[in-house]
């Protein structure tokens, strides 16, 4: 034991001034692996990305289909892409509550005391969450296909829409990551997350055409990042077109990350 827990002389170790890019990536993937192990041990974490897409897709299609598009089948190209964006958003919201709960546990004290990149404990679980968004997107599309959805964009278009949904979920999760680092309780993150999630989801063309809303509301709909994602997903999946909407959606996602990732890290390190 003595040999094992002996320590190196201080002079022997060159001290790094900051973690390098390679190290940061490696640490992020190590953190992602931790999050995956925890996910597998706690299957409840998959409820929102399995049951919700199944339930909401079927429910919304049968309830609103007739009223909005005349019949259920004609509504599917609208509702499937809408639900895709909605599940990406709700699934990413869980990132905030889970981070808040996680940060209250003792293990975060150790993460903070370790010489690792400050972003790794935040980015790791976000990477692991790609699995959750993937499940949600896949299930939504499968339910749509079973209900008779025949996407005009073909396999390529659907795959592109699927990938965009996952990327959007990952990007939007940084908003909730930031909330997780700012608010004091998981309940608070959940509550505020809901207040953000509902307007973003419903003040968009996810479920109804934008034109049916009052014109003042349409202005908000136009700048809603979820609208950008939905328009892009529709162009990709229903038409198979790589339109300007797709570019805008990607730009929107990148902007969200560019704003919220740095302020999350800043608030997390400050909160030590």
């Amino acid at each position: 034991m003595a040999a094992l827990i002996s320590t190196y002389a201080v002079a022997d170790r060159p001290l790094k001034t900051h973690p390098g890019v390679g190290e940061t990536i490696a640490q992020t993937f190590t953190m992602a692996r931790r999050a995956l192990i925890k996910m597998m041990r706690n299957p409840e974490q998959f409820f929102d990305v399995t049951i919700q897409p199944l339930l909401f897709t079927a429910m919304f299609a049968y309830i609103f289909g007739g009223a909005i598009s005349g019949d259920v089948k004609a509504y599917l190209p609208t509702i499937i892409t809408g639900i895709l964006a909605q599940t990406a958003l709700t699934a990413s919201m869980a990132r905030g509550t889970q981070l808040r709960e996680d940060m209250d546990k003792g293990v975060f004290d150790r993460f903070k005391a370790l010489p690792i990149a400050r972003i790794a404990p935040l980015a790791g679980p976000a990477v692991a969450d790609l699995l959750r968004y993937g499940i949600a997107a896949t299930l939504t599309i499968l339910v749509g296909l079973l209900m008779g959805y025949r996407p005009g964009g073909g396999v390529g278009g659907v795959l592109a829409g699927w990938a965009l949904t996952i990327f959007a979920g990952w990007s939007l999760s940084w908003i909730f990551t930031w909330l997780g680092t700012v608010l004091k309780t998981a309940g608070g993150v959940q509550g505020l997350g809901m207040m953000i999630m509902f307007p973003l989801t419903f003040l968009s063309p996810a479920f109804v055409p934008k034109e049916t809303m009052p014109s003042w509301l349409q202005h908000f709909v136009d700048v809603n990042p979820v609208t950008l994602v939905i328009n892009a997903t529709r162009d990709l999946m229903n038409a198979g077109d790589l339109t300007l909407s797709v570019v805008w959606a990607l730009v929107g996602c990148v902007v969200v990350v560019a704003i919220f990732a740095p302020i999350s890290v800043w608030s997390y390190s400050k909160k030590l």
Binding site: I5, T7, T17, T30, K38, G106, F108, K112, A113, P115
Partner: protein, 336 residues
């Protein structure tokens, strides 16, 4: 004259405020390489806050701190490479097994998967945890968590180790095991900064002790120096014949030159002693005077008495050392 870099820790005027409350109010610390330095104080004295500032876990509001000559405020990432921290509450992941925890921390420290697994196996064996390697931490006892936590702090072989109340809430047996582990660590050449509420723990492990109260350092020295400064051991006597209390008091006063404290109803005579050797003189004096006693014991000053002497007030601490066992039971139940 020691230069800064010969010191493992050099801190001056550390201050930490939370709103209106000043948790740490200008603390200076100098810890030499290779020594075990104890920070002693009651709950809420500012021990953990001080340690967290030194470990880069809390921003330093005012003052300056250096770890092996590296400025804590300016170079936190470097400081983190020099310090291993074991917190008051085990900082390991509940949902992972012991091995998964250690491999996780090893990988984060830049070890290859293979090296991390080897180091994990080695540490678990050293800490007698190999049988629990594949169990989730949520099924661990309090003592096992602490040991795993300490093992995790040693993965990087840090030259300086912070132990924040390493035995608070542990039962006496586990506490003894923890002490042995810490002694082994020190034998290996580590510098250790230890916080504790227990005088006997500081006494057993620390080369030097700083006593902290309400965010201020009220005394510093070896445990002997501290006890001497506080005074005294006390000889507690109980007489066979309560009627002899007054006679006994006179005899004691003659021998020690000080008036003993009497509890005549119980036939008790409590004798303050400048040093414990004087107890024999008192007992011989009583024998010569023909006064017989039923019990006699010499007691060291308790933390409460040290505090009373140093600060003029008690520890105001419900968790005084005498109640360790009760509290341990509560903790063990939580864990079970």
């Amino acid at each position: 004259m020691t230069t800064t870099t010969e010191l493992a820790v050099s801190a001056s005027g550390l201050v930490k405020t939370f709103g209106d409350f000043t948790a740490v109010d200008g603390i200076d610390l100098e810890i030499r390489r290779g020594e075990v330095f104890g920070v002693l104080g009651p709950n809420g004295a500012g021990k953990t806050t001080t340690l967290k500032m030194l470990a880069t876990l809390l921003p330093i509001d005012a003052g300056k701190a250096e770890i092996f000559g590296v400025d804590v405020k300016a170079h936190p990432h470097q400081v983190r490479q020099l310090v291993g921290v074991t917190g008051q509450y085990a900082s390991v992941d509940e949902n992972l097994t012991a091995t998964e925890n250690l491999v996780l921390f090893g990988r984060l420290l830049g070890m290859s998967g293979k090296d991390a697994r080897a180091a994990s196996e080695e540490l678990l064996e050293s800490f007698g945890l190999q049988e629990a390697a594949k169990r989730q931490i949520s099924k661990f006892s309090g003592g096992m968590r602490r040991r795993l936590d300490l093992a995790a702090s040693l993965l990087s072989r840090p030259p300086l180790i912070f132990l924040d109340e390493p035995t608070t809430g542990l039962d006496p047996r586990t506490r003894g095991q923890m002490w042995d582990t810490i002694r082994t660590l020190v034998a290996g050449g580590s510098t250790v900064l230890l916080t504790t509420q227990y005088l006997d723990e500081a006494d057993q492990l620390a080369d030097r002790i700083a006593v902290i109260d309400r965010g201020v350092k009220v005394a510093e020295g070896t445990s002997e120096e501290l006890k001497t400064s506080v005074g005294n051991s006390t000889l507690h006597l109980r007489l066979s014949d309560k009627a002899q209390v007054a006679t006994a008091a006179a005899v004691v006063e003659k021998v020690t030159g000080e008036r003993p404290v009497l509890t005549p109803e119980a036939g008790g005579v409590n004798v303050p002693l400048a040093d414990a050797d004087r107890a024999a003189d008192v007992l011989i004096g009583l024998r010569h005077a023909g006064i017989s006693i039923t019990t006699a014991n010499v007691q060291q000053p308790t933390l409460d008495e040290v505090f009373l002497a140093l600060t003029g007030h008690g520890t105001e601490n419900p968790e005084n050392p005498d109640r360790t066992d009760i509290r341990t039971d509560i903790r063990t139940e939580e864990v079970a």
